[in-house]
């Protein structure tokens, strides 16, 4: 079996046929294309966005939606845009992480915790705790809390012939900041950025980006496996 890159948080996701509603002023198909362009999974995006928008509609029918600063209509494009950003982050677009966490907080404060929960794939009651823990632990997921054993978070990279970035086996891995590692691949240096939902892999360049002193991501290790071109991101036991 050929292993592919991916994140364990998606292992239990069952995708059904998702249909996206039309939202005036927003091109959801364009957003889906951008999700794919930025390394996300279009099917996951469509599924989580559809779930989020359905839950938002239910919230609205119950009448417990508070006003957002940008408007108070359930069809408000700004509101749908924020839910879409959360769905895109959930689908693997790591570049949206900062803005998605902002959107999760604002939507929750506006009484849309159930919609945000549906968009992230968790109960609405877990959202507040999730966003709080995510600020200090980018690999936190409620279902894995206190699991008491080591577990795989993600597989990253891969052989170029199978669609991955590398022509050589990844070698030594060096921590280069929160959620960031430098990897020796042949005679090149690559930078890996990852969180719970997605990752980005790029050549490190002449002067690799570093967030100050090399800081290790607490409790998380990136491991080069002798039999694979994929790196494994692992949560250590304890």
């Amino acid at each position: 079996m050929i292993r592919r890159p991916g994140h364990s948080v998606n292992a239990s996701v069952r995708l059904g046929a998702a249909s996206l509603p039309a939202v005036a002023g927003l091109d959801l198909d364009l957003a889906a294309a951008n999700v794919a362009r930025w390394g996300g999974d279009q099917n996951l995006y469509a599924a989580f966005l559809a779930a989020g928008l359905a839950a938002q509609s239910a919230d609205a029918h119950r009448g417990d939606v508070l006003s957002l600063s940008t408007g108070n209509s359930v069809n408000d494009p700004a509101l749908v845009q924020d839910i879409a950003a959360v769905a895109a982050w959930r689908a693997g677009v790591i570049g949206l992480r900062t803005d998605a966490l902002r959107a999760v907080s604002e939507l929750s404060d506006a009484g849309l915790a159930d919609a945000v929960g549906a968009t992230l794939g968790m109960p609405g009651s877990d959202v507040a705790g999730f966003v709080e823990r995510q600020r200090t632990d980018r690999f936190f997921w409620p279902a894995w809390h206190n699991l008491g054993r080591a577990y795989l978070l993600a597989r990253i990279g891969g052989f170029a012939g199978l669609g991955g970035p590398w022509l050589a086996h990844p070698g030594d891995v060096i921590a280069a900041g929160e959620g960031r590692w430098l990897v020796e691949v042949g005679d090149e240096l690559w930078q890996v950025d990852a969180d719970l939902f997605g990752h980005s892999v790029s050549p490190a360049g002449a002067e690799p980006e570093s967030s100050g002193d090399p800081v290790e991501t607490a409790g998380v290790r990136v491991v080069s496996v002798p039999t694979s071109y994929l790196l494994e991101v692992v949560r250590e036991a304890g």
Partner: protein, 521 residues
């Protein structure tokens, strides 16, 4: 009917640079923006390249390669030919070089027989700068034996010629092409010598003069680039091109013929009566501000120290000739040439050095500062175009044959152009690549990657003289003399030693002058 010309390459055009998209900085609003709205300038230039090469000029000649060591090679025929299949993206020089010239604001000479797309490509560059195809054609200067300076720059108004009491009162009706951002001179080797001189003033100094009136030719905004075409690069044509004008041309690129396997596209164009310059997608047109930003970004691409050192080694090979003069500093090809001597004969008279090892013996001249600056700028442009964070040795190597063609002149008497390598005598691009590759092999063989004593001494001086005591200065002087002594003991001197020895003498002067000052203080 949809316009088949409007399709451009999907982004990203550079593979394997980024897996998984940007690592940070995206916002919810970005999710709903079209990639065309957010495309970076280097990506836009790459998409322009692919549109030109795939849609506009049909040039399936991928001769600019960036991974020579890893490419698959297949021998062909019995004359030493081989075709290489690179693993990295390769590019077509006759499209890439004009496009990089457009990006850096350079001057490009396109050579080749009639009907090879030279003028079409130049006109396309004009359209990429925002002009209409009609305007570009109207502003194109067609070289011909009767072309006068007035034809080129404009005429004095006849009314003023009669009524004016002095030259200052004559109004010149300047030609409008003079301030275009893209300037095209077709068949420049058919222009009379006097008119070539006026052209030289424009190219070199950025102004024209007529009847004591002066006009700046640089555009008011954006970046100026020049495109010349010629069907001969060996002194032919109706008029010999003046050397000063040739020297001002940054790159020379050969236009290729038509590949018969692409006849279907040709048939389609004939049937539709279409010309590519009339169908340039608007998304590929560069505004003046974009051109300025592009040039700024290219200039900012760093040239790493290790690449710079190898470039120094390569370019340092060519100025020195052992019997060029009596004093060491005067032993240069330029001294011989300016005195009317035969550089080939002087090179041949050097029985002390191995002509095969001495790369400098393959050329009749050294490199001008202008050529070196051009090489640096185009190497930066190559790196930027390819999406690299800094200039690689591959970028320098790729630009060498186009920047140095016509500037580094081959010595036809050298053994390199005899026997099995005769084709190098009329294939300057391959010869220059061969010269560069040989220099890099020598660099590795000499172990210069590991030790660079002259570079270390220069770096020490770069730290400044302030605060150095006599003992330190004396120690450094001793090290300099020791290094000169080491080279002196070898017995044979090459171009690479000439640059090192001149630099060592410079260092010796700086330190000894400082020591005299210390002792006198």
């Amino acid at each position: 009917m949809s316009d088949r010309w409007q399709k451009t390459s999907a982004s990203p055009t550079v593979p394997h640079v980024q897996h998984g998209g940007p690592r940070d900085g995206l916002t919810a609003a970005d999710l709903f923006r079209s990639p065309d709205e957010t495309v970076a300038l280097d990506e836009k230039l790459r998409r322009t390249y692919f549109w030109l090469v795939n849609k506009a000029v049909i040039s399936p000649f991928y001769d600019v390669e960036f991974d020579a060591a890893k490419a698959n090679r297949f021998p062909l025929g019995d004359a030493g030919a081989e075709i290489t299949l690179p693993t990295q993206p390769a590019y077509s020089s006759n499209v890439l070089l004009p496009l990089l010239t457009f990006a850096v604001g350079g001057k490009c000479l396109m050579i080749g027989g009639p009907g090879r797309g030279k003028t079409t490509l130049a006109v396309l560059m004009g359209v990429l700068s925002g002009s209409t195809p009609d305007d570009v054609r109207r502003h194109l200067q067609q070289g011909q034996p009767q072309l006068t300076v007035s034809d080129l720059v404009g005429l004095p108004l006849p009314r003023d010629l009669v009524a004016a009491g002095s030259l200052a009162e004559i109004t010149i009706a300047w030609k409008s092409w003079l301030t275009e951002r893209v300037k095209i001179v077709d068949e420049y080797n058919r222009i009379p010598t006097k008119t070539q001189s006026a052209l030289l003033t424009m190219v070199a100094e950025g102004y024209v003069e007529s009847h004591d009136q002066l006009r700046r030719t640089a555009p008011s905004e954006g970046v100026e680039s020049w495109f010349f075409t010629a069907n001969d690069d060996a002194g032919g044509g109706t008029f010999q091109v003046i050397q000063a004008l040739k020297d001002r041309l940054d790159v020379t690129v050969q236009a290729f013929g038509f590949n018969g396997r692409f006849f279907d596209e040709l048939v389609t164009r004939v049937e539709a009566g279409e010309r590519p310059e009339e169908h340039v997608p608007s998304s590929l047109v560069f505004s003046p501000d974009e051109q300025t930003a592009m040039l700024t970004a290219i200039r900012a691409v760093p040239l790493p120290a290790d690449v710079r050192r190898k470039l120094e080694y390569f370019t340092g090979q060519f100025e020195f000739v052992q019997h060029g003069g009596r004093r060491f500093e005067y032993r240069t090809k330029d001294v011989v040439a300016t005195a009317g001597g035969d550089v080939s004969a002087v090179i041949d008279a050097n029985s002390g050095a191995d002509l095969v090892v001495d790369l400098g013996a393959q050329t009749l001249n050294g490199l001008s500062v202008r050529a070196l600056q051009t090489l640096i700028l185009y190497a930066k442009a190559s790196a930027w175009f390819r999406g690299a964070a800094s200039v690689g040795l591959d970028d320098v190597r790729a630009m060498v044959p186009f920047v140095l063609r016509g500037k580094l002149l081959p010595n036809p008497q050298h053994p390199r152009f005899e026997a099995g390598d005769k084709e190098l005598a009329h294939d300057p691009a391959s010869w220059l690549i061969d010269l560069f590759d040989t220099a890099m092999k020598q660099y590795v063989a000499l172990g210069l990657d590991a030790a660079d004593p002259v570079g270390d001494l220069l770096a020490e001086l770069g730290g400044g003289l302030d605060g150095l005591d006599r003992l330190t200065v004396s120690q450094r002087l001793t090290r300099i003399e020791s290094e000169v002594g080491r080279i002196s003991k070898v017995g044979k001197i090459y171009g690479r030693d000439y640059d090192d020895l001149v630099a060592l003498k410079y260092l010796h002067q700086r330190y000894s002058n400082y020591l005299h000052w210390l002792e006198g203080a």
